[in-house]
Amino acid sequence: METIKQHTNTKENQKAHQASGSIAVIDALLSENVDTIFGYPGGAIMPIYDALYDYRDKLHHILVRHEQGAIHAAQGYARVSGKTGVVFATSGPGATNLVTGLADAMIDSTPVVCITGQVFAHLLGTDAFQETDIVNITSPVTKWNYQITDANEIPEVLAKAFYIAKSGRPGPVLIDITKNAQLQLFDYNGYKSCIHVRSYRPKPVVKPEYIQAAADLINQAKKPLVVFGQGVILGNAEKEFLQFIEKANLPTAWTIMGMSAIPTDHPLGVGMVGMHGNYGPNYLTNECDVLIAIGMRFDDRVTGRLDKYAKQAKIVHLDIDPAEVDKNVLTTVPVWGDCKETLPLLTALLEPKEHKTWMQEFQDKMQYEKEVLIDKERFPETEELTMGEVLFELNELTHGNAVMVSDVGQHQMVVCRYSKQNQTRSNITSGGLGTMGFALPAAIGAKFGAPERTVVAIMGDGSAQMNLQELGTIMQFQPNVKIIILNNQFLGMVRQWQELFHERRYSFTDITSPDFVQVAKGYHIKGQKVAERSELKKALTEMLASNESYLLEIMVAKEDNVFPMVPQGKGVSEIVLSKDQI
């Protein structure tokens, strides 16, 4: 571990040395092998920024344009790299600007450590300038949070923060440090990383009885269906997972958060479940005899109406978080534990199977979906471009090797339905919270987390206008991010619901946009706008070939809808493929 001794007034041969709280913060980050911080300074965090100044070569600080951008960038960084994202923000408005990102990271189990400055301890509770009770504000949206008022607490609390953020089911942690503690000199004994907190249990014990019971069910199953979520990625269990499904040839569907854990064109992959997922896996959820849920949490966007969800099936649920088991769907066999550990145990007990006719049912349904729906989007007869054809064209050019960062709305569903992804950690999107404005900062973070990969942000015209200010971050720090805006001149997803369920009463969904290419130009970012099919391929190629960031605005059909759809309040087998089925 690189020490900070030279920079503090250490006497040689002396174990403890005087250091400021701020130096202890920097040392903690270095010790945790942090290389990138996303942040924004202000009064209450100035001592930490001052300490950072001497370490700016080792701790790469990305100055965002809004703290929400900082935390989404940290999320993108964490999701793509598997490392913990780190955020700095000042007290008051700086800290409150993190709340949306914390909620997003909480619901999508993303490891992030936020360090916020706070007013001097003696001013707490006095309505001091830029004082806000950020610990209480963020309690429901953090895995753990804590306020430090004395520098002596810093090493241990930060060690605990990194441990809690990353271990077990990951999540965001916020540490609020009062300014006096940042300035305070104390006897610093060095940083010790944390491996255990007695009141915190990252993983439950694996119970072999349940592995056996699960294996028995799967071995007896005539129509098994695997549905996996992000747990496979968070557990770094992609390999173990493939061995599991391949041994018994199990038809396998993913949730939006699980996408890319196996290649999207894997022969056992039957597509995405959920409100706008594929027809086959949604429909056949209600025909399988054993549903094997892995690292997923039966979100209502996945289950549709609960009392019509897989009622005929026995349920095996593998999850690291015991609170997820039986939360929404009652399990037949719960397999608590880290799937990295439980999957190999389960695989060992599986009998090889073919499941050919059952698999054929998925293939037939996929073929049907392709004919009645996908091909029409891919090869449209209309003049207007469709979002779908943009994605298929993009797949041809990236060969499925890009990190796809999507925002929220119709375009997000199209990205997750059609993009080809060969590699794990390729699908970065706001799944649980559905946070518009996520994609641009998350793509910036993703590029810093995986500099060797092509990162493509796909946004709607509405989403692009939330956090558009982060173009400034791109201008200054030059991550090579490809930005596509699929402009349908609407808040399309909301418009779709208005069309389908509110008699086309388009109440405030017709959103206007600036000239995005001009805006990019203002930030010295190259770009162009296309509206013609004939220009699409060339424009995408140019964008991808550019050795710097690039913004491509693509005008698409105004009133296209995303199908299939499990309408709200309906069961998954009531999935519809077109408007007239509703």
Partner: protein
């Protein structure tokens, strides 16, 4: 079916833990019938006793969520027949009336109430028991000019519990895999369900 459940949570002594527990309930619009915090048999470990009226499935999910709060060591949930519980109540009654009406004396004795303070103007009685008895005495005393009443929250001891000592020792072991979480499905027979 809704019924009374008593939740017992052992926590670290941390500022803010009360709020972190409380928001688990308020987020789900579950109201607390009563809440008590106290020290436990182990130094620096606090014990929350919370009573709710809810259905079993809601309570089980809620308790699992409470167990996830980092500073919570252990959570138990029990039905009333699995615990021994008590509450204390204080009643302030005009001394003058008590002197006049012999019935009141008898009443208080019947409920096992003791005088804590006797002054010229008022007397404060204390009684210990469960809500039913306390509420009965309360309504009786209303007839005799009750000036002030307060009842404490429930405190409860689990019949089947061995206390927190042993669990703490296990929790303190540095090896996170030696975790004493019990799978509730394995211990269906046991009276208490543990996280």
């Amino acid at each position: 079916m809704k019924q009374e459940y008593t939740i017992t949570a052992y926590t670290e002594n941390q500022v803010g833990i009360l709020n972190k527990i409380a928001i688990m309930f308020s987020r789900r619009k579950i109201s607390l019938e009563s809440l008590n915090t106290s020290p436990s048999e182990v130094e620096n470990i606090y014990r929350f006793t919370i009573v709710v009226k809810e259905s079993e499935s809601v309570v089980k999910n809620l308790v699992k969520q409470i167990g996830k709060i980092v500073d919570v060591l252990k959570v138990y949930v029990n039905t009333n027949d699995e615990i021994i519980w008590q509450q204390i109540a204080l009643y302030k009654v005009p001394t003058e009336i008590i002197m006049k009406e012999a019935k009141v004396e008898r009443l208080l004795r019947a409920y096992g109430a003791n005088a804590v303070v006797i002054r010229n103007d008022y007397t404060v009685f204390e009684s210990t028991g469960q809500d039913e008895e306390i509420n009965k005495l309360l309504s009786e005393l209303h007839k005799y000019g009750l000036i002030e009443f307060v009842r404490s929250s429930r405190i409860a001891i689990m019949k089947a519990s061995e206390g927190i000592h042993k669990s703490i020792l296990e929790l303190e072991k540095n090896d996170p895999t030696k975790d004493p979480i019990n799978n509730e499905f394995l211990s269906l027979k046991s009276k208490i369900f543990q996280m």
